[in-house]
Amino acid sequence: MAKYIVKRFFIMIITVLLIATLTFFLMHSIPGSPFNQERGTSEAVQANLEAFYGLDQPLYVQYAMYIKSIITFDFGPSIKNPNQTVNDLLSRGFPISFELGIITILTALVSGVTLGIIAALRHNGFIDYLAMTFAVLGISIPNFVLATLVIQQFAVNWGILPAATWSSPAHMVLPTLALATGPMAIIARLTRSSMLEVLTQDYIKMAKAKGLTPFRIIIKHALKNAMMPVVTILGTLIAGILTGTFVIEKIFAIPGMGKYFVDSINNRDYPVIMGTTVFYSSILVFMLFLVDIAYSLLDPRIKLNAKGGE
């Protein structure tokens, strides 16, 4: 088990470094200086600014500085707003985005799994068709379309829920709904198919032959096994939710990290782009790491196979 975690941990570090390096070289392959766009900046001021941000150094020095900034978690000041650092932006935006993300994941997981189980137990019944049609719709409607749809209905037409910002539980309903529907639909479909697969297994027949109640068979025998494929795609879903926060925060005017990220891209604010990218990637990779651990806890067979991976 420990060996497995260590191995996963190393892959995690490598991935983060890879993304960081990729980001660095991509950013530096853009021709010109970020200060060129601003008209009226004199040569001298520009040189000054470049020196301030270390842009006059050779590339390898800049790379070393950049890696150092990642390790020390100090991404320096923003270019567009020199009076605030990237860390300021992150510490302001991250708690909100994190809240949105966690609420979304929990909503999607709980409702998706419930829906999937009900559909599987009523296989080929009316509820099954209803749930699955709903699920395909959920997958097909992009989150930004859904966001505008729910604002139109709940906030504008009916006026029962607030449409923007992130200040009270009522404000969280619509963004969460818009962001969670897609992942929920994916989880529901996967839970259903995996549950159906598990229900045909011999150990379920055996549990029935033992005379156990249907409830016990589902909870004790089917659910844990059926959850394994769901856990494996959780990583991808988290990544989707994370990028989904960009648009949701934009539409609902939520002052989260995603908003700063999109703004920094539109403003070509390189320190912010690099800082947020690395931060996002680390969070994501760490989530994938947690998912892996969760999977190995769920499946007792993993522990023995730790050496070879899969």
Binding site: I11, M12, L26, V136, T148, V247
Partner: protein, 316 residues
């Protein structure tokens, strides 16, 4: 023993000559009752039965036709501004109304369909070629080559794909080509994994050993023997790649990182129309949103249908 009592003809009723031996009637025993269909015929037959998937297919064919011919049905240009004519509700002149710059939403919708379908199909095809080469080589060679190649895939898989796409767009500047390149940079991984799995499974089959013993070259074995047998899951993966790519394009354009104005893409149109939630010009948001959703829905149900139809386990 409980003897079965039936009301069959009594002993006298049975003609005497029915008790003459007729010998083994072997042809009858070997008779195959159900007609044998090839894999593809069988899959097609089952796809035809799936109404939802067929509905998706029909919608996509119609959409493709409209993407090609739709703009010819109106005299309006997709990009020309006509300010006095702004925010017109749908009418016989402008079927889907006009936007805030007086452009015809109907014409723009079909231009958007061109972009969405092009992005989706191009991404699926490029993923297909890269994935099949990478996955095919990894799966076929096996051993050390495979484990190195798969370790690379494992690390790339950890990359958040939309983040990478966004970074590439920042560097290369937003354009259609950039979007497609950016989408395929990480998109081929799923395909490569599937192809590898299929190849691993099939390469131990006897017919591969047979062609190896004839001295066939590796590339020929992959092309002639392995690929035809791995097509099912690959086709499904391709079908499901398309809506992902369409979503990504719309998503990026919506964020202002993709297709740029004045070009019409469904994402751009939806982004432009965000303010209509308040202003009430619903048609500007409704039509692009409807067509993105319908197109993704159609590809998803078609993919699901193909998955069921092409699964050899479900053959009856």
């Amino acid at each position: 023993m409980n003897k079965q009592q039936t009301n069959l003809p009594s002993k006298q009723d049975i003609p005497e000559d029915w008790f003459k031996p007729i010998g083994k009637n072997r042809e009858k025993a070997e008779d195959v009752v159900r007609p044998s269909l090839s894999y593809w015929q069988d899959a097609w037959r089952r796809l035809l039965k799936n109404k939802l998937a067929m509905g998706g297919l029909v919608f996509l064919v119609l959409l493709a036709l409209m993407a090609i011919f739709g703009p010819l049905l109106t005299p309006h240009s997709p990009t020309a501004q006509n300010l006095p004519n702004q925010n017109q509700a749908p009418s016989m002149n402008h079927y889907f109304g006009t936007d805030n710059l007086g452009r015809d939403v109907f014409t723009r919708t079909w231009y958007g369909a061109r972009i969405s379908l092009f992005v989706g199909l191009a991404a699926a095809l490029i993923d297909f070629f890269i994935g099949i080469i990478y996955g095919g080589v990894a799966g076929y060679k096996g051993g050390r080559t495979d484990s190195v190649m798969m370790r690379i895939v494992e690390i790339l898989y950890g990359l958040p794909y939309l983040l990478v796409v966004i970074l590439l767009l920042v560097v290369m500047g937003p354009s259609l080509t950039t979007i497609i390149v950016a989408l395929t940079v990480t998109g081929w991984i799923g395909m490569a994994r599937i192809v590898r799995g299929q190849v691993m499974q099939i390469k131990n089959y006897e017919f591969v050993a047979a062609s190896q013993s004839f001295g066939a070259k590796t590339s020929r074995i992959i092309k002639k023997n392995l690929l035809p047998n791995t097509m099912g899951p690959i086709i499904v993966q391709m079908t499901l790649t398309v809506p992902t790519a369409i979503f990504a394009e719309a998503f990026l354009s919506f964020l202002g990182l993709g297709i740029q104005a004045p070009h019409a893409s469904w994402g751009v149109m939806a982004n432009d129309a965000l303010s209509t939630i308040i202003s009430g010009h619903w048609w500007r948001l409704f039509f692009p949103a409807l067509f993105i959703s319908l197109t993704m829905f159609a590809f998803n149900v078609l993919g699901d249908g193909l998955q069921d139809a092409l699964d050899p386990k479900l053959r009856k």
